[in-house]
């Protein structure tokens, strides 16, 4: 374990007076909780965040036109003998 204490003032060592600070480490107990932070980027692709709004609207328009055409055909079917 390396401690960079008061960097720039002087050299820090265990038991050495450094910049007026006496650093003594008798024992150390370090516990980590949770996951260590990772900074790896996603491997393959950036998130998809653009829904095809115009595609939905065009599809709706096309489907509505077909439905109306079908209804017109049905009307003709019912009126012709």
């Amino acid at each position: 374990m390396t401690i960079h204490a008061l960097k720039g003032i002087g050299e820090s060592e265990v038991g050495k007076k450094d910049g007026g600070i006496l650093l003594r480490i008798a024992a150390a107990d370090v516990r980590l909780a949770g996951d260590i932070a990772t900074t790896e980027p996603p491997c393959c692709a950036l998130a998809t965040t653009g829904g095809p709004v115009y595609g939905y609207l065009a599809g709706a328009a096309l489907m509505a036109l077909l439905a109306l055409a079908l209804l017109a055909y049905v009307r003709r079917l019912r009126t012709t003998v």
């Binding site: 909780a33 949770g34 996951d35 932070a37 990772t38 900074t39 790896e40 980027p41 996603p42 491997c43 393959c44 692709a45 950036l46 998130a47 998809t48 965040t49 653009g50 829904g51 095809p52 709004v53 115009y54 595609g55 939905y56 609207l57 599809g59 709706a60 328009a61 489907m63 509505a64 077909l66 439905a67 109306l68 055409a69 079908l70 209804l71 017109a72 055909y73 049905v74 003709r76 079917l77 019912r78």
Partner: protein, 218 residues
Amino acid sequence: MKLKTFLPRVSFGRLFGRKALAGFLSVMAVGMLAGAAWLAGYPFYTDLRAAQEQKRLAASFETTSVKHSYQERSFTEGSALTRMVIPKLSLDTVVVEGVSLKALAAGAGHYPRTPLPGELGNVGIAGHRTMNGKPLSNLQELTTGDRIILITPLAQFTYEVIPAFGGHANPWVVHPNDASVLQPTDEPMLTLTTCHPRGSAKQRMVVRAKLVGMESVA
């Protein structure tokens, strides 16, 4: 165009019975009209759904569970991670953890393998440009110096859009597979991504901002 020109000249009436055919086609036409209504309304439905989800997330953001998640660095996909405020875009939205389709139904999500807000490195956030509340609809309007504020239960982090760098403008456009924009950085940065052009997923628009300030939340 007359109907005759594109419907087959077969006498379906003779084949199946005129009334039965008319009934069947009527049902089919009504079904198609219903489908058309669903298609036309779906984008607006996703906006409504995202607004509802944002209300729920805003409420959960006020609870202590988010603070605990930060202390333990443990977030589940879809849980509230940070509030993102962009004054220039009049945006105030809750960003969730994760960028799956399900997570992004809330509008904006944090790339899981990037640092948390305020941490050293490159924080990645993706947001919808169309549908699902479209929080980053006007991302292209951001320019150098514009502020992006990430508010967590622990602190508020202010980022500023940086000038053009690396031989391209900022914002800039990349290929969807160009995940290099999320590469770790030496300084604390924030990278926002959204789809480009609007209504398409062919490319991605990216904005890079740098951490310029931090205030502890009391």
